[in-house]
């Protein structure tokens, strides 16, 4: 909570894409179509890449320390309403910011939106909204960004989507807007409870943390908050909008929806539910764990039954987010850390999958595995990239997907054994449907239409190459991630323990003894966050 820098990194991080969107809109139409497209594309790239550079700088300057908020900037915004422009980043949000910043330029380069000026502007505004919601520390400010993202996505789906785009766009908007209705009332109710106790109206998360809430109101507020987050994520059974939206959106929209915006839901749960309503979280954890597991199994089964590659990935996404929910409500350091890692990894992996599927559609005009056969022969690079994404999604050790799922399962096993056992079944199902789909689409003799398919161009390969590299790197060496995430998660988990301590002693849900694994850390890169913490503590 210190103003440890003069330069307002986070404010610039949020405003930069927004300004880029404004500049893009102002590009005159009189330039002629080609020149305009180039100028707009250049503006989009410069903006997203400089945002990425800024995010990387932030990540490089980030010192984990005790896991508190860094680079905080706080300004009065609407004094009568108690809203402040309060931004900060900690280990939990840092990598989500970085992931979003990495994905946006790649999405822009993947070329799924054509050369439209408006599309680029909407995409940049969307980036501002996504980044803003990850770094906002004022509840209303968070809500503003959270809601702001609806508008660009709505336009991206409804204008550049596939055949049933209008239906999908409206369904998406109404579902999420309805969820947010409860969130807004919940936010206001927390703030008023706080005002009632202290006489000061504020929506500041760090201040509201200290509000005393009875168990009944905690449960109600928790449900109100979680309604919005569960719809956004989506958590089973609030997912019904997502297959439609993911499938009908243009590739760029699908990537942002699944990779970045879904994380706003799960991030919201970790950041706000766990911080504000610890007792309700402890009490209702079994419910949410069950929903998480149900999502894992249900998503897997439906994905097995679907022939449409895009829907298949959409349902697999539901399953993977189930793991995030599972880890979060395990309420152990490993579990929550695993959840955060899984959020980042899932974002990277699903981006690869959606981009690859977008290119398949470009070449063959279909997503259905019935219409695709033998793609591997004419397009080996595409097949290779799809394989990496697929293996990551399955959770193959050595790719990043494994790290998150493994931590989640360990963390859950400690406190909620049977949920972890059932969830492990989900990993098997994931292997089943992904490999089936791969067999049908890529193996066998290509039919005549498929045999003509061109492989990826250099440019296209260059777009996904960074993602593939990051996925492989994080699979082998996740320590940089864990080093920074764990202190913040530990801080959060201990807060939940204190808050929920009326029921159970804090000790019972503390991290596992660290001594056994710390040796492993010194010799090789261990996955255990506990080990990392010990070493981090020593460095301080």
């Amino acid at each position: 909570m210190t103003h440890d820098t003069a330069f307002p990194f986070l404010t610039v991080l949020v405003l930069l894409p927004a300004c880029g969107a404004l500049v893009a809109v102002l590009v005159p139409t009189g330039l002629g179509e080609r020149l305009q497209a180039r100028v707009v594309q250049a503006i989009g790239l410069v903006t997203t890449l400089s945002t990425l550079a800024l995010a990387a700088t932030i990540a490089a300057r980030y010192q984990a320390g005790n896991g508190g908020f860094r680079l905080v900037s706080q300004h009065i915004w609407a004094p009568q309403l108690g809203i402040s422009w309060h931004l900060g980043v900690d280990g939990i949000s840092l990598f989500l910011v970085l992931m979003a910043a990495v994905l946006f330029p790649l999405v822009l380069l993947s070329g799924s939106l054509g050369t439209s000026r408006d599309a680029v502007a909407w995409l940049l505004l969307l980036e501002a909204g996504c980044l803003g919601s990850f770094v906002a520390l004022d509840l209303i400010l968070f809500f503003l960004f959270f809601e702001l993202t609806l508008v660009p996505v709505y336009f991206l789906i409804s204008r550049w989507g596939y055949s049933r785009r209008a239906y999908a766009a409206i369904k998406f908007f109404i579902y999420t807007f309805l969820g947010s209705a409860f969130l807004l009332v919940g936010i206001v109710a927390v703030a008023f409870e706080h005002e009632h106790q202290t006489g000061r109206l504020t929506f500041d998360l760090v201040t509201l943390m200290h509000t005393h809430l009875g168990l009944a109101s905690q449960v109600l507020l928790f449900l109100a908050f979680t309604a919005a987050f569960a719809v956004k994520a989506p958590v089973f059974p609030f997912h019904t909008w997502s297959p439609d939206a993911y499938a009908e959106a243009p590739t760029a929209g699908s990537v942002v929806l699944a990779a970045v915006m879904a994380k706003m839901g799960t991030y919201g749960i970790i950041r706000f539910d766990l911080t504000l309503f610890p007792r309700a979280v402890v009490d209702l954890a079994p419910l949410l764990l069950t929903l998480g597991v149900a999502g894992i199994i249900y998503g897997g089964i439906v994905a097995c039954a679907t022939k449409d590659l895009k829907r298949l990935v959409a349902y697999s996404s539901l399953a993977h987010l189930g793991f995030v929910v599972l880890g979060t409500f395990a309420l152990t350091t490993q579990g929550v850390t695993g959840g955060v890692v899984q959020m980042v990894n899932h974002g990277l992996i699903i981006a690869v999958l959606f981009i690859a599927i977008g290119w398949i559609y470009e070449r063959r005009g279909t997503w259905s595995t019935d219409g695709l056969r033998g793609l591997q022969r004419p397009a080996p690079v595409l097949a290779g990239i799809f394989t990496v994404g697929m293996m990551g999604a399955i959770g193959l050790p050595g790719l990043s997907g494994f790290v998150g799922e493994f931590l989640v399962l360990i963390g859950t096993f400690v406190t909620h054994r049977w949920w972890a056992v059932v969830a492990t079944g989900g990993v098997v199902i994931a292997a089943l449907y992904l490999l089936w789909a791969y067999q049908q689409a890529f193996h066998l003799e290509p039919d005549p239409a498929t045999a003509q398919v061109a492989d990826l161009s250099w440019r296209q390969a260059a777009v996904v190459a960074p993602l593939v590299l990051i996925i492989a790197f994080l699979g082998i060496y996740p320590k940089p991630l864990l080093d920074r995430i764990t202190p913040s998660v530990q801080r959060l988990v201990s807060q939940v323990d204190q808050g929920g301590a009326t029921r159970e002693p804090a000790v019972s849900r503390g991290p596992a003894p660290a001594s056994s694994s710390s040796g492993a850390y010194t010799t090789s890169s261990s996955l255990s966050p506990d080990a990392v913490t010990v070493s981090g503590g020593g460095r301080r």
Binding site: Y154, A166, L178, S180
Partner: protein, 548 residues
Amino acid sequence: MTSVLAVAGHLALPKIAYLSIMPVLILLGGAGAMLAVSAVWPRRLPASTTTSLTVGVALAALVASLVQWGDIRHSGPHVAIAGAVVQDGFSALISVLVTSAVFLTALVADSWQRRHPSGWGPELQVLMLVSAAGAVVMGEANDLIVVFLGLEIMSIALYVLAAFDHRRQQSGEAGLKYFVLGSFSSAVFVYGIALVYGATGTTDLPQITDYLARNILLHDGLLLAGLALLLVGFAFKVAAVPFHLWTPDVYQGAPTPVTGFMAAVAKAGGFAALLRVFISSFGVLRTDWQPAVWVLALLTLTLGAVVALVQRDIKRMLAYSSINHAGFVLLGVQAATTRGVEAALYYLFVYSFMVIGSFAVITLVAGPGDDDHDLERYRGLARRSPLLALALTTMLLAQAGIPFTTGFLAKLEVVSASVGARSTALAVIAMVTAAIAGFFYLRVVLLMYAAPAEAGAGAPGYGDGADLLLAGTEAGSSSMAPSAGADEQAGPGGTLTLSATRTPVASWEVPEAPAAVAIALCVGVTVLFGLWPAPLTGFAHLARLIIP
């Protein structure tokens, strides 16, 4: 001798603090002057002259309101003219709101008159100024009789305005409907005043407050009956369900700029008086009337949002949407707290800009005759006139409550007030209806950005400069009397010049400079104060009632 003089001195008129009624005087004086000038002028006043005169009068009244505001900030709230009017931040804010609405509507009406030439004189503008004067009086009334005076001044002018477009049957129908139901509600309102007078012995609002504070009524049936009738009267004016039945027809039938004006000013005036009478004077009885307002708000919110879903006519749709918005303002009334008043005021203020802006765009998009408002007309608007589509999109999204617009902050304010007054259930319902409302706002947005090619069977010939009049009748705005369209084709609509009917869509939709200014101002206020809320929320914050 001296004693007689002294008596005469006592009998003299009360001291008139002219500043306190300056906006009213300017509005009424301007209206009178315009009538007089047009009567003696040898030819008809051209539209540009009437528009600039009205804009000048509105700006003068706006400045007077701001001077009042400065005076109140400097020397505090006070009553004037023998306690008939009150000067506080509340009245000043309403005054600023109403005069701004006149200013904007005058600019929009200019385009409307040019597009529908029918030998208009300055009557539209004169009636608008008079109606606005009534609304300002309602905002500063400190006596039930003065409230009634303002209500009638405002309403009677509005009845005529609704029926103003004599070429369309619907306009006449709207005027008559509004008149009959409106005067009925006025009668109910006066009866309510009579009962309250019977119970308390006065119509003066502070004296009523005083009386209720000092006495505990053992038999308060009379008072409560009076209160109920007052509430019904106000509910008619602000179009709260179940007293909303006139709204869709009147909004649809009235000339489009007038609809915007009505939505902004009639609501502002009605709610201003409602807030002052109920919260400031009958605040002691709030436990009696809060449940009634709760139910009223619930019905208004849900019915407005749900029925709007099935509308095919954009004016009817926005009529139901305005009912939904009235429900949100009722949230502030129901809270019955200072914060509630502040929230309701803020809501009214920003809503008036959104709704006038929306109807300004609708005025331009509507074809010749101002009677085709079918949603299909908006298909592909973004291709034809991107800026107009952008403006309407902004204002519709603001009405839906999208962040970084004033619409969001307004919803936040009323929901805060409601939660603060422990009416959380109502707040939740309100936000759910906002989500439902999002659907029909977005439907228009979707249509505007849809490719015109998709129009196909829906609206033949749109966009490629086909004869608009023909297209208008063919597309056949389903919810309207088909006779009106056929009628116009046949001849009585022949006041339209041939060139006007042959105007291609795109050039027809290009706003004249005044309307463009009005739309830009509405969008500007909506977005600017959404991004930088402090000035406007601060204004509403300081514009409290005198709550004894």
